[in-house]
């Protein structure tokens, strides 16, 4: 890996950790209450009193950005974890068992995939009461299927590999084969899926909030803030849209880039001897 690239990775990790720290310590850093309405300072541009300006109800954009980041990051990470876990489990069972059960399980996925996911999300969101937990559930329920299918295909192909058969001969049970050989072999795929899962979940949360059926409107989230911004964009209140949108874009780019590096790193442990500490140089 060349020096330039290493610098870039270090920079990404540093800036992303800074963002996470800011979000984590939001209660200490936010001078203003993110929910406090101040009708005497509505739609103020960035100034020393309000670092990133105020919105249409006079709420501090900087404070809302920090608290909103909590929602977006938590939703992204949690929805990803749930959907990857569900997808890998479902795919592993289907791929390993094979035969009729596999066919049945795959048709079920086909059926679920045939429903447009946004429609399903809106439908489910109407059933569940609007809350953080429900939004995590709704997003993961609509995004585990492609993961399951990919894992199942990988396992199907791998079952015929000679090294899997060699391990069978040496006495490994199907579960041991899965845990020791097949899943580690799938890690690159799983990483890619997890990373795109985070991006997808953050965007889905923003979409739902933007449509007004995500996080309750008074709670801040990056998506919610964007929805509030749309009516005032034309009147010149650019700070309402630029900062949340920038946060979403930066988070997704950073996660994707780091995931990419992680995938390169995990794909072939046999080729990275001697530079085991190369990846994280910070």
């Amino acid at each position: 890996m060349n020096i330039k690239r290493r610098w870039f990775i270090t920079l990404t990790i540093a800036s992303f950790s800074l963002l996470l720290t800011l979000i984590l310590f939001a209660p200490l850093l936010a001078v203003h209450d993110p929910l406090a309405v101040q009708m005497n300072s509505v739609l103020q541009p960035p100034s020393s009193a309000h670092l990133l300006g105020t919105d249409e109800l006079g709420r501090d954009v900087f404070s809302r950005l920090l608290y909103g980041g909590r929602v977006s990051i938590v939703v992204g990470a949690a929805a990803m974890l749930v959907s990857v876990a569900a997808g890998v489990l479902y795919g592993a069972v289907s791929g390993l068992v094979g035969g009729g059960i596999d066919r049945l399980m795959m048709r079920l996925i086909d059926a679920l995939l045939s429903i447009p996911s946004l429609l399903l999300m809106i439908g489910l969101q109407m059933v569940f009461p609007s809350s953080l937990l429900s939004i995590i559930l709704v997003i993961s329920l609509t995004s585990w299927m492609p993961i399951a299918r990919l894992i199942r295909t990988e396992l199907m192909a791998m079952k015929k590999d000679v090294f899997i058969q060699a391990s069978t001969v040496i006495g490994a049970s199907p579960f041991q084969l899965l845990r020791r050989h097949m899943l580690p072999q799938c890690t690159p795929t799983i990483i890619v899926l997890a990373v795109s899962g985070i991006s997808h979940a953050i965007l889905a949360e923003a979409t739902l909030s933007f449509l007004g059926i995500g996080i309750p409107p008074q709670e801040p989230s990056w998506g919610n803030m964007l929805m509030g911004a749309q009516t005032h964009l034309l009147s010149g209140a650019w700070w309402l849209a630029v900062f949340p949108a920038g946060c979403i874009m930066y988070t997704i780019l950073a996660v994707n880039f780091l995931g990419d590096r992680l995938q390169d790193h995990l794909a072939a442990p046999q080729f990275r001897k001697g530079d085991k500490n190369e990846w994280i140089s910070s």
């Binding site: 090294f163 058969q165 041991q176 050989h181 046999q270």
Partner: protein, 531 residues
């Protein structure tokens, strides 16, 4: 100097600063076959690539020169070089797959060649190509001409490659391990074709191989290479009867070990380990409307007793590997039964060494982890795992520092040893070796055979040895099954094999390379092989 077509003078090749081929000088005589023989990694292929100025990028010529009929190869102009490579030299590689453009038909390969290097019209070029293909004894030349490379078998592709190589009537044919990947029958035919072409055209051949049997059949002069140096350069007849260098003697010893039938007859003990009864395996190929049944193994019965080395020979595609997988219960039989009669449970009593060790390893794991895998599945055997792995490594002749390496860092022979070590670790009663020598050179083969035989004697381990190479099978096994098209046609003791009456076995035996050497066997046996 006249009489020499190609002269190599003090050639030295290096990768970065590390010298790989050092200071070699030899010459190829006109109208003669010169062979370069040596272990894999001895620099013979690199030498050949230096002759045609096609070295890999990271290899450079440090010193020396190559002269082809008076002209220096390294200082040719582009035009001269094209003439030299295209018309004066024909090349046949070991790999018959990557040398063809997969999206062009065989015919287009010929047409490209003729339009570049001759002024033949398209029609004449096709005529010429068909003539060449027929010369290569390809049954339906027209059909081959219109086929794509993947539609031909390895042997057919090798013939086409040969036809392409000699199309321009070159004055030198370079053949780099042209028969290594082929079965014995095809090997014999290809060698015959090269010989015929040489006699007809009066050109020279530079033949590179690791197989002394093949070399003794074809070569007039032999160059023995070892560790990037020339160990000996002498006429073939002299090399076979009175080798001077240590390396040549070792080669001959390895060859004799491989070509001498196993004289040991063990009284087949009554303690059977595995008994295969009337096993049949059919594969079903589904077409759009109908199903086609493809028989792979038909009505096979065989048995292996304790401490026995049993050979199973047959041509590639003859169902040998399928049979081994049926015995290992990796696939289910269509009919018939496989009985395991050993004392240990099935999955521990029978072990497997696959022909491609790299494919049979989880490449994310180190050798130590791979070899030790068998113990991970045993509850009570967890302690002392490291010591046991070290012991078995030593047993197969690997050093303990190899344990920390990953599979791709080992050489072919070492990988096969590691695969054997993994099988030996859990102390099975029977090991199935599926073409274990397919990718190894002769000296690695000889070493592995000695190893397997010594383990067999010491630990009373039974071995089922599957191979297409009757020579190796004879050298190692006590009893041999011959398999043709999915069924077993003959069962015989190895020392009795030469008196067979079965026509197919006779055919196999007659195709063993170096039969001349066999006829002179008595003479050869007398050669002092010092060790």
């Amino acid at each position: 100097m006249s009489g020499f077509l190609l002269e190599v003078d003090r050639l030295t090749l290096a990768k970065q600063q590390q010298v790989i081929v050092s200071d070699i000088s030899f010459a190829v005589r006109k109208d003669r076959v010169t062979a370069i023989i040596g272990e894999s990694g001895s620099g013979k292929s690199l030498t050949a690539r230096a002759l045609i100025d096609l070295l890999p990028e990271d290899i450079s010529v440090l010193a020396g020169s190559v002269t082809f009929s008076g002209e220096h190869v390294f200082s040719m102009t582009n035009k001269q070089r094209r003439h030299y490579l295209g018309k004066e030299i024909g090349i046949v590689f070991q790999d018959t797959w990557q040398t063809f453009d997969p999206i062009q038909t065989i015919g287009r390969h010929f047409l490209e060649l003729f339009t570049t290097h001759s002024s033949l019209s398209k029609k004449d070029a096709k005529e010429q190509a068909l003539y060449l293909l027929r010369q290569m004894k390809l049954g339906d030349a027209e059909k081959v001409f219109n086929s794509y490379p993947h539609e031909l078998s390895g042997g057919m592709r090798q013939r086409v490659q040969l036809a392409l190589a000699i199309a321009m009537n070159p004055s030198l044919l370079i053949a780099d391990e042209p028969t290594t990947a082929l079965d014995l029958q095809t090997q014999a035919e290809i060698i015959q074709l090269i010989k015929d072409w040489k006699t007809q055209s009066g050109s020279s051949v530079l033949f590179i191989s690791h197989d002394l049997g093949v070399v003794s059949e074809i070569a007039d002069d032999v160059i023995v290479m070892s560790n990037g140096k020339i160990a000996e350069w002498s006429p073939a007849s002299q090399l076979l009867t009175a080798p001077r260098s240590h390396q040549a003697k070792q080669l001959l010893a390895d060859y004799l070990l491989l070509s001498r039938p196993n004289q040991l007859v063990k009284q087949s003990s009554n303690d059977l380990l595995i008994k295969v009864e009337n096993v049949t395996k059919n594969y079903i190929k589904k077409n759009w409307f109908k199903q086609e049944v493809i028989p792979a193994v038909t009505d096979v019965s065989l048995h292996v007793a304790q401490g026995e080395i049993v050979g199973l020979i047959g041509e590639s595609g003859g169902g040998k590997s399928t049979l081994s997988r049926l015995m290992l219960q990796l696939e289910t039989c269509t009919s018939g039964t496989v009985h395991w009669l050993g004392k240990q449970p099935f999955r521990r009593g029978i072990q497997w060494v696959h022909q491609d060790p790299l494919a049979s390893f989880n490449q994310r794991w180190t050798i130590e982890k791979i070899i030790g895998e068998g113990l991970d599945y045993e509850k009570e055997e967890k302690n002392g795992k490291r010591e046991r792995v070290q012991a078995v490594l030593q047993q197969v002749g690997l050093s303990s520092s190899d344990a920390k390496l990953y599979p791709h860092e080992l050489s072919g022979g070492m990988r096969q040893r590691a695969a054997l070590a993994r099988a030996l670790l859990i102390e099975p009663e029977l090991i199935v070796l599926d073409e274990p020598f397919a990718n190894l050179d002769m000296s690695s083969q000889a070493k592995l055979i000695t190893l397997i035989q010594s383990i067999n004697e010491k630990e009373n381990l039974a071995v089922l040895f599957i191979t297409h190479d009757i020579q190796v099978a004879l050298a190692i096994s006590q009893r041999i099954y011959v398999m043709v098209k999915g069924s077993i046609t003959e069962e015989r003791y190895a020392n009795d094999m030469l008196s067979t009456t079965n026509p197919y076995t006779k055919l196999l035996l007659s195709r063993m390379p170096g039969l001349e050497a066999h006829r002179n066997k008595k003479k050869l046996m007398k050669v002092e092989i010092h060790e």
